[in-house]
Amino acid sequence: MPQTANFSSGPAIEIDGLRRTYRTTTGTLRRRRLEVEAVRGISLEVGRGELFGLLGPNGAGKTTTIRVLCTLLLPTSGVVRVLGHDVVQDAREVRRRIGYVFGGDRGLYDRLSALDNLRYFAELYALEPSHLRSRIDEVLEMVGLKGRERERVEGFSRGMRQRLHLARGLLHDPPVLFFDEPTIGVDPVGAREVRQLIGDLAKAGKTVLLTTHYMFEADSLCDRIAVISRGRIVAEGTPKDLKSAASDRTVVEVEAYGVDEAILARMRALEGVESVAMEVRDQAQLLLVQARQADQLTARLLQLLEGIRVERIAAREPTLEDAYVALVTQE
C-alpha cells in the first residue's frame, strides 16, 4: 500500500489490528495441538520521539508485540509498520532503523570480549569502519562498561551483560528503540542509570517503546502508556490519565499478623471493595485493599481485623500501580 506508507513524517510505530497466535503441542504420548492467542487485535500508534510504555501482567503479549515490531515474528494478521516500513514486506528496512534490547543474560558470545561482540555486530549493521572504534567507545561510555571491554563476556555479571545488550542496541544509533524489561537484573544504582539513559535517548529525539513491570519506571519515564491484558489493550493514555481513572478509588494498606482466608473473603465482600491483595513479607502480611466510593473504609476494615495484631493501617492516594492493578484485575 504505497499510498499510505509514510516514511518521512507520520507516526514512528503503527500497529493496526495485530493478532498473533502460537501453535504448540502438549503431551508426549497423545500429542494435542494447542493454540495460544497471545495478541488478539492490538491497534496503537507511537509518535516520533515519543517514549511509550507497554504494561501488562505476565503473558499479556508485550514481548510478542515487540518481537513482531522487530521482525522476529510474523503477524498472524494485521498491519505493522515502523517509520512507514512494513515489518513483513520491508523487514530489511525496518531492521536498519531499530534497536532491540531485551532483558536477560543470553544473546551474547561468551567466548568473545565485549569489544569483539560489539565489533561483530558493528559489522552486521554496516557501520563505517572509520568511526567504528569511536562509536564503540561512545556506547561503552554510555552504558558504563568503559574499561571492561577487553574482558570476555563469560566473566560478566548479569547486570554487565544487560549493559552490553544496551550497548549493542544503541551501536548503530537507530531512530527507534525497543526495550523489553531493560532494567531486569541490574542493581538499583545501575537501573537508575539505565532509566536516565532511556530518558536521554528520548530527549535526543529517539522513539522508544518500553515494557516494564516496575510502575514507577513507567510513571517517571513514559509520555504515554498502554496497558495490555490477555492480548488486548485495556487502557491507553498518559500516566496522569491512567491515575485519574483510578482517582475515585481509595487504597488502604494494612500491615498485620495472622490474617486468614476467611477474613480476606469477608474483606472482599465489603461494600465498595474492588480488590484485596496480600503479600507476605518476613512474618508480616501486607494487605492492599482497593475500594471505590468507600466511606469509612479504614474503620470497617479494622472492625473485621478485630483480635488480630495490626501493625499499621493507612489510606493513601492511588498510584499508577493501583490504577494498573485495578485495570488488569477487572476481568
Binding site: 518481537r67 522476529l72 510474523l74 543470553r106 567466548r111 569483539d116 554496516a126
Partner: protein
C-alpha cells in the same frame, strides 16, 4: 562482513576444546592406522596420500559437528534473534560461521601431515605447492558451504543431531578418503560426485603427489556454487519458517 564473521567464529571455535579434539583425535588415529598398514607393506600408495585423506576426514568431522547444528547452537546461546534482526543478510551471517568452522578443520590437516612426518617419516614434498594451497583453500570453502546447506536443512527436521552423527562415517567412506573410489560399488559414485570432500581430496592428492589437480578443483568449485545457491534458498526458507513458527528463541 563475511570476513568478520569468519574471523570471530574462528576465534571462538579455536578456543573450543571440543572442536579442536574433533579435528585432531580421530584423524590422527585413522592416519596412524593407514600409515602403519602401508609401512607393513599392505598398501602401495605414498604415506602422504593417507595423511591427506585423514586430514580431510578431520575437516569433514568439524563441519558435520560444527555446522550441522549451527542454527540450534546459535539459538541455544540466544544469538539467533540478534543475528536475524541485524540488517545483514542472514545467509551471509551463517556462511561466516560455517566457513569459520571449516577453517578450524585445517588443524587436522596440519596435524595429520605433521604426525605423518614426525612419526612415520612421510615425505612432505609437494609436487606443486601453489596448486596445493589453492586446493586447500577451495576445499575448505566448499566444505564450509556444504556446512551451510546442512546447517540450514537439518533445522527443518527434528533430531538434527542424530542426522549429523549418522553422516560422519559414511561420507568418509563414500568420498574416497579411506579407500580409493574405484574400490567402492558403482552406486555410490553419484553420491560421491555431489560431495565436495571427494573433489577436495583428489585435488589435494594430485597437487601433492603429482597429477591433474585442476580438474577436481573445477569440480570442487562447481559443487560449491551448487551449495551456495541451495544454501541461499534454504536459509531463506528457514528464516521465514522461524518467524512464522516462533522458533528463533527458546521459550
Amino acid at each position: 562482513m563475511l570476513f568478520t564473521g569468519w574471523f570471530y567464529q574462528l576465534k571462538m571455535q579455536a578456543q573450543s576444546g571440543f572442536m579442536v579434539m574433533t579435528a585432531l583425535i580421530q584423524p590422527l588415529i585413522f592416519a596412524s592406522i593407514a600409515m602403519a598398514d602401508q609401512q607393513a607393506g599392505n598398501r602401495t600408495l605414498p604415506l602422504l596420500y593417507y595423511a591427506l585423506g585423514a586430514g580431510i576426514m578431520g575437516i569433514w568431522s568439524t563441519v558435520v559437528f560444527g555446522c550441522g547444528g549451527v542454527i540450534s547452537w546459535q539459538r541455544h546461546q540466544g544469538m539467533l534473534e540478534p543475528l536475524v534482526m541485524a540488517p545483514a543478510p542472514f545467509v551471509l551471517v551463517l556462511m561466516g560461521i560455517t566457513l569459520g568452522t571449516a577453517t578450524v578443520g585445517l588443524y587436522s590437516m596440519a596435524a595429520t601431515l605433521l604426525w605423518g612426518w614426525l612419526v612415520f617419516g612421510a615425505h612432505l614434498h609437494l609436487a606443486s605447492p601453489g596448486l596445493f594451497a589453492a586446493a586447500a583453500l577451495i576445499t575448505v570453502v566448499s566444505l564450509g558451504l556444504l556446512g551451510l546447506v546442512m546447517g540450514s536443512s537439518f533445522v527443518l527436521y527434528r533430531n538434527s543431531n542424530a542426522i549429523s552423527n549418522m553422516l560422519e562415517y559414511p561420507v568418509w567412506l563414500i568420498t574416497g578418503l579411506l579407500v580409493p573410489l574405484s574400490l567402492l560399488p558403482g552406486w555410490t559414485h553419484p553420491l560421491a560426485y555431489v560431495l565436495a570432500p571427494t573433489w577436495g581430496v583428489q585435488a589435494l592428492r594430485a597437487a601433492a603427489l603429482g597429477g591433474q589437480a585442476s580438474i577436481p578443483i573445477v569440480w570442487c568449485l562447481v559443487a560449491s556454487t551448487g551449495y551456495l545457491l541451495l544454501g541461499v534458498w534454504l536459509v531463506h526458507v528457514v528464516e521465514v519458517r522461524a518467524r512464522r513458527h516462533a522458533t528463533l528463541n527458546f521459550q
